[in-house]
């Protein structure tokens, strides 16, 4: 017991090691992997992200000009963000909040449409 005394005294007079979590949230680190978002204005539906995604969370539908993203399948590895050459995948350091039903995000690629119109 006497060996642990310094630790005990420090703990007695030191503050708590934990935070009042839902009220007080620590800011995420700059490079933390939180979640991904898509920038519809930049996406050209090249499919790099969908091919490299290890969890098959992104599907490309070229006929409908759509990118379908299943957030519940995403393992937040950010491989897609590195694969995207147009910076259309935005890596965010904020975590998603929990959800009751599995959401499905449908993104219409605008950059692709405009390019088609011009031609």
């Amino acid at each position: 017991m006497p060996v642990m005394l310094p630790t005990i005294i420090r703990n007695l007079f030191g503050g708590p090691a934990t935070r009042m979590y839902p009220v007080q949230v620590r800011d995420p680190f700059e490079g933390a992997r939180g979640h991904i978002e898509f920038d519809d204005d930049k996406c050209i539906l090249c499919g790099n992200c969908a091919r490299q995604c290890p969890a098959a969370a992104i599907e490309i539908n070229k006929e409908k000009n759509e990118l379908v993203f299943y957030p519940a399948r995403c393992i937040i590895c950010f491989v897609c963000a590195e694969a995207c050459k147009k910076d259309a995948v935005i890596a965010s350091n904020k975590w998603r909040t929990p959800y009751y039903t599995k959401p499905v995000e449908v993104h219409v690629a605008k950059a692709k449409k405009e390019k088609a119109k011009k031609e």
């Binding site: 060996v3 642990m4 310094p6 630790t7 090691a17 680190f29 490079g31 933390a32 992997r33 490299q52 290890p54 969890a55 393992i75 937040i76 590895c77 950010f78 491989v79 590195e82």
Partner: protein, 360 residues
Amino acid sequence: MAPRTIAPFGPQHPVLPEPIQLKITYENEKVVDVVPALGYGHRGIEKACELNEYPKNIHLCERICGICSCMHGISYCEVVERLWPMEVPPRAKYLRTIWSEMSRTHSHLLWLGLLADALGFESMFMQFWRIREKVLDLLEMTCGSRVTQSVSVVGGVRRDIDDEQKKICIRTLQEVRQEAEALINVLATDPTVKARTVGKGVLTKEQAILLGNNGPHLRASGVKEDCRMLGMQAYGELGFEPVVETDGDCYARALVRARETLQAIDLQLEAFSKMPEGEIYVRPKGSPPANEAVYRCEQARGEVFYYAKGNGTRKLERLRVRTPTFANIPSLLVMLPGSELADVPIIVLSIDPCISCTER
């Protein structure tokens, strides 16, 4: 002859973080026979690795285990690099070493906390986990995630540690070392801890070798064997010397892990000071050739064995993972018979069982 009773130990038990069942036959509180029953966490990852393209397997292999996730990813990348073969830039090797040692630090701190918890030393458990949190914060800062780091890729690493992060890492690691040293001092000298662990579950040097044990479990029996001595990654340049204890009981295993925690922090500090500048990634060309390779790496729990066989396509022909606990479970069949029923949790915990690893 006293009547024999068969009691199930697990699959849900306070000392077991993961499910394994041991059917224990005992006679007057003395264990006579043990039969393990596995299969609660089998996910078929080896098969899944044959169906995926090889870069996607990194993320799959990282999910073999939660605690050693970083080292599973690195081991997979290293075995595929040996298939080619290709060389990784020196800075990437140092970064891999730093992250491996960081996960060893947090894994050993977790285990020391669990040991204290199994002994009923609750306050010690919380102290260890509090300082472990600092290491997890460092991992989140440098890798982006607390547990599944996903930093290693075939050909190098995905992230670099800049000077500012390096300063924070060094400062925090020195703090952690100081606090861990004080706590380990308590754990090593406390009479109640000694009463519960000294002389329990003894394995001699010969038994340990014949049972194929590995990791801290083997080194506690006096065998100087550590895969880091093979000099992979940057270990060859760091002057690494394995930690060895000779008693082979639960107390020796705790001491090995405690001293390795401090050693891991020293290795990280040394790696930070020696880390060269330069590239962190080289792009592998084409797909893995028809070749085979083996790789061994020292995880926190022991030696992990990776075997990969390529067939010239973008998928692997076969991937085999032998995790440390897979080889350490048979030693329970020797250690447990003859021990008191009350010592069973401590002895089971002393091999640092990781069942998700074992069953893959």
